[in-house]
Each structure stands twice: as C-alpha cells, then as structure tokens.
C-alpha cells in the first residue's frame, strides 16, 4: 500500500504535518486537482474497524491514512467512532499571518452499540477544511484560488489518520532520547557538581 509512484531512497517515510495533510492533500483532493504523490487511498465512508484498515488505508509507522467524507454517522462493523470533543485549528505556516486552513478533530473508537460501547485505544484524527478558510484572510495571494474553489463543496472531504495509542512509543526510531539517556544526562551534571576539584 502506498508505494504508488514515490521512489525515494531508504529512510524516507510518510510523516506529514497537519498543514501538509490539509493544504497539500485535502485541498487538492477537494479541488479535484491531481495529488502527487497520490499515496492516500479513498475509502469513502469508512465502514472498517480500525484493525481492518491495514491493507486498505495507507500505512506508515503504525498509522493509517485515508480519505473519507464528512459524516455524522461513524459506525463500523463492530463499533463506532465517538468524538472526543477536541477541535484543533490547523494554521498555515507559509505566511506570516496565521491563517486557519483546516480543523482537526479527535475520535475514539468504541466497540459495541452506540451509547454503551467499550472504549478502545484506537484514535482517529479527522482533518477537514475549514468552511471559512477563505474568509480568514483577505490576502490577494489566495483570492484567485478562492474563485476557482467557490464551486467546490469543501465540507465534503476529510482525511483520517488512525492509530492505536499504545503502539506509539516504539516508532521513534531513536529520534528521541530514551529515558535511560536522560538519566545519564542528569548524571553528567553530577560530575560537575560533586567533583569540583
């Protein structure tokens, strides 16, 4: 999955920022522009349980990415996604002015029937274009694009990123200091204190 037409040397991975997901992938999808690289599959409305995404969604580092549609009904075969009530705005960093380009919502997966499901560790981040993204800025830079987009239903498309929370800690590949390293670092401080002479 996701190999598509990307031909990169070893070590390159799909680790998009929120902004990239929204600006590059979601905007272009909504505007029916070609996405390059076209790595994120469209699963339409997602009837899949999160553990069934493997092989269907794009997988990278214990995370799965796919396009879907905005919906009120997030019921899957064995459960449902319930909003965690967290909405984060996604800002554009490409300009000095902070423009909100999209929103990110969090969902948790529950096994069972809606109100009485069992919460799991599966988390979904759903990225959507903000409805008022064009009104947030009057910059001329976006005005021409705004015109072409005005016919498009921005609210339709979303990108979902799904992951299981407890799998998260082992995918850093050493880009972080381990706890042990931190301890050693602290011990280094002691050297300087306790051996002043």
């Amino acid at each position: 999955m996701g190999d598509s037409n990307v031909n990169l040397p070893p070590g390159f991975r799909f680790y998009p920022t929120d902004e990239e997901l929204v600006v590059h992938f979601l905007h272009r999808k909504a505007a029916l522009l070609p996405c390059h690289p076209d790595v994120i599959p469209d699963l339409d409305l997602y009837p899949y349980d999160p553990w069934d995404l493997d092989g269907k969604a794009m997988a990278e580092g214990n995370k799965w990415y796919f396009y879907s549609r905005r919906t009120q009904n997030r019921i899957t075969e064995n459960g449902y996604w319930k909003s965690l009530g967290v909405d984060e705005p996604i800002f554009s960093t490409s300009t000095d002015i902070n423009i909100i380009v999209g929103m990110k919502k969090y969902f948790a997966f529950y096994i069972g029937e809606p109100p009485e499901g069992h919460k799991t560790n599966w988390v979904m981040q759903e990225y959507s274009l903000s409805d008022h993204s064009s009104s947030a800025s009057g910059s001329s830079r976006s005005s021409s694009r705004r015109r072409s987009r005005s016919k498009i239903d921005y609210s339709k498309w979303v990108i979902c990123r799904v992951y299981e929370r407890n799998c998260d800690n082992d995918d850093d590949g050493g880009t972080e200091l381990s706890c042990l390293d931190e301890v050693f670092l602290s011990l280094d401080d002691l050297d300087e204190i306790s051996l002043p002479h």
Partner: protein
C-alpha cells in the same frame, strides 16, 4: 538520473510533500554507513559529509537540510580522525564548544545480529571543564567493532576495527522540553510540534513525569557517587548508598526552579524515617503512589515496579526484589566505574530497603540516618509532618538493613 535529481537535496526541488527522512537505525547503519565506508555511491545526496570540528550544532540545520520540509533532526557523515593531543579520544570540539559523550554506547541490532553501536553526545558551549550543557544531542552511529569475520567478510574490517577511526553517521536533534510543551499545549498546531509524533503527545498526556524523575535520579545518582568515592573499599553500591548532606549552596548549583517544582510535588509525602514503618496508612500509600506514578514513565528502568503497582503496597513495590533496581544499579555502576557490577548488586538486591522521608522546607538533603536505627518507635509520619519547618530532605536513600554498624555519615559534601 534526472529522476534522482528531482529529489536532490541540493537542487531546487525536493522530497514530495508529506515525506520526511526518518531512517531507522538499521537503515542508517546498514544502508548508508555501509555504503559510505565501502566507497559505494549513494544515490541521493541525502546525508552529507561534515567536518564536525568546524560546524556548530545550530548551523547543522542549514547545512543538512533535506528538501524544504520542516525537520526535527539532521543527519551527516563525519570522519573521525582528529584526536586530542593527549590520548586517543576523538576531538569533537568546535569553535563554540564541544560534544561530550554521555552514558554508554548502545548496541544496534538488526534481525538479532549486532550491526553497530550508537554513542550519545551532548553539546556543551564553552571549553571543558566549564562547558555549559545545551539541548543539542547527537547520536553517533558506527559499524560494529566486533563483527564476526566469518559472518561478514567484506565489512571493511580496516575501517571499523578501531572505534576511534573512520566514518560515522550522525543524527543531531534538540532535546525536547516536555514541560514547555505542557505549559502551552495549544501551540501544537505549529508545524514543529505537529511533526513530533505520537510519542511526544503521549508524554504530554501524562504530565510532569520526566522532570521530576530526572531530579530524583539525579539525587540518587549523586548519593551513589559520593558514597562510592568515599567508600572505595566497598564495592557494593547498594550497600554504599547511605546518606548525603547537601547544603544550600550546592542546591544553588542545581536548577532552583525545577527543584522547587519537585519539592512541591512531594509536599504531601510523609516522612518515612523508619523503613519498618507501617505502610497500611492509606494517606501514605496514596502519596507514595504519586512517586510510583512518576516512576512509571521510566519504563526502561522501572517497568517491573510499574507492573507490581496494583498488587503490592508501595514499599513492597519499591522493594520487590532485585529486578526493579538492577538496571538502575547497572547504569549507576557503569557511570561510576565504567564496568558492570551487576552480579554483585543483584545478589544483594533483595536486602535493600528503600525509604524516602521527605520534607520540603530547607532544601537540604538530610543527614542520613542509617537504616540501622533500631526499632525507632516514634511515629515518624506524624512527627515529620508536624515538623515541616526544620527539615532535611532525604530522597530515596536506601540502605541495606543487614549492615550491622551504623556507619558514620561519611558522605557530607562540603563545598
């Protein structure tokens, strides 16, 4: 070729959107460094050669940029050839400071085979020994010194035979400050915060762990060290660890803020001067669990303690046998002596008693009571709580209950 140029680091175009150079350690060693030492061409100029002595860490991000996407870590090859005039150690000094190794090298495995080693270094501004520690961290990877010749005949034994020679591949990044992330959680929409992946967000969800533990371990390490220095005759670290006295101006050497922070967190922790004190007092239990929870973020060290947390009382947990402490012991031992005392420690581990009476007032590490204070029947809890004012802070000193004579508190550190 033109396709490759399309992704060229130094050219105008870049890596496609959403993609980052996030090599695994195995990829770094097996693919990139192996090709480097074998003088094989690497398709893309992803990892550049750098003269470490001429490059300050804050310039690395420019020099080692890959494409135009935001990066949290940077990669380069470096050839280790410069030595300090006296000795065989690699000279990693720059104009503004120097890289100093910390901890012990970590073995990197691939499919259960050793393929290389990783050294962790920290950048200090200034000149040794007065350097000022920065947040810049470097992981320096080298191919394994001890690769079995039968296993891999053509792994450039000459280059990798001496760990102080030859090519290494390095990853540089800035240590993250989780406390800062906590204070401003809503900054997470900035791209830098976003690319911090799941791990950091997990950490954010369990606030305050790292700093506190850092401090605690600092003191634990400290006590170990001092004792070791003064008790050379006694090899057993656990037995050594007794009491420290820290006076105020030593405290000042530490980060005062974080210390205060820490003492606030433990403000409700009752004194536990007598390690035989009852542990069934619920209040005490719960405050001890506070510490346990903090401990839990130190997965590598205290996993075992974590697992026992539900079942065992807190003191039992801390005492639950050698396994909890073995890894900690090991690192302390290695820090002190450069070699392992593990067996030694393990064999004695079960006798350890741990107690951590704690008070918050004077910011002094207490004069140590030896654990042998026999059957002190005082109610240490209520007493120490009532005496919040004249206080010693004694963290995590632990001693062996079987040591027979209350040895003099040897380890006052006076500066």
């Amino acid at each position: 070729m033109s396709k490759d140029m399309n992704l060229s680091v130094n050219g105008q175009s870049q890596v496609p959107p959403g993609f980052r150079f996030h090599p695994t350690e195995e990829e770094l060693l097996h693919y990139y460094l192996r090709k480097k030492v074998a003088y094989e061409k690497i398709d893309l100029d992803v990892i550049r050669d750098v003269d470490l002595n001429k490059l300050e860490p804050w310039d690395i991000q420019d020099k080692c940029r890959i494409g135009s996407t935001p990066q949290n870590d940077w990669y380069f090859f470096s050839h280790k050839d410069k030595k300090y005039p006296t000795g065989t150690r690699t000279n990693r000094a720059t104009a503004a400071g120097f890289w100093k190794a910390t901890g012990r090298d970590k073995v990197i495995h691939s499919n259960c085979k050793r393929i290389g080693m990783r050294k962790t270094l920290v950048f200090y501004k200034g000149r040794a020994p007065h350097g000022q520690k920065s947040d810049w961290i470097m992981h320096e990877y080298r191919l394994d010194d001890n690769i079995n010749p039968q296993e891999s005949i053509n792994v450039n034994a000459s280059e990798s035979s001496n760990q102080e020679e030859g090519w290494v591949v390095c990853r540089v990044f800035k240590k993250k400050n989780y406390h800062k992330a906590l204070e401003s959680p809503h900054q997470s929409s900035s791209s830098a915060a976003l690319t911090m992946n799941s791990r950091s967000s997990t950490l954010i969800q369990k606030p305050n762990n790292d700093g506190v533990l850092d401090q605690i371990l600092m003191y634990m390490g400290r006590s170990c060290k001092q004792q070791d220095i003064e008790n050379k005759h006694n090899n057993n670290l656990i037995n050594n660890i007794n009491n420290i006295q820290l006076d105020d101006h030593i405290m000042q050497l530490n980060n005062t803020n974080s210390f205060i922070n820490m003492s606030n967190r433990f403000i409700h922790l009752p004194g536990l001067e007598n390690h035989h004190s009852p542990t069934n007092n619920m209040d005490d239990v719960s405050s001890l669990q506070l510490i346990q929870q903090d401990c839990c973020s130190f997965g590598e060290i205290l996993t075992e303690a974590h697992e026992h947390r539900a079942a065992a009382g807190p003191v039992e947990m801390m005492r639950s046998g050698p396994s909890d402490w073995v890894s900690l012991d090991r690192l302390v031992a290695s820090q002190l002596n450069g070699h392992d005392h593990v067996e030694n420690i393990t064999s004695n581990g079960e006798n350890n008693n741990i107690y951590f009476p704690l008070h918050h007032h004077g910011l002094q590490l207490g004069q140590l009571c030896t654990n042998e204070r026999p059957n002190d029947e005082d109610d240490a809890f209520s007493q120490s709580q009532a005496h919040d004012d004249d206080v010693d802070v004694e963290f995590w000193s632990y001693a062996r209950s079987s040591s027979s004579s209350p040895s003099d508190p040897l380890c006052h550190l006076s500066v």
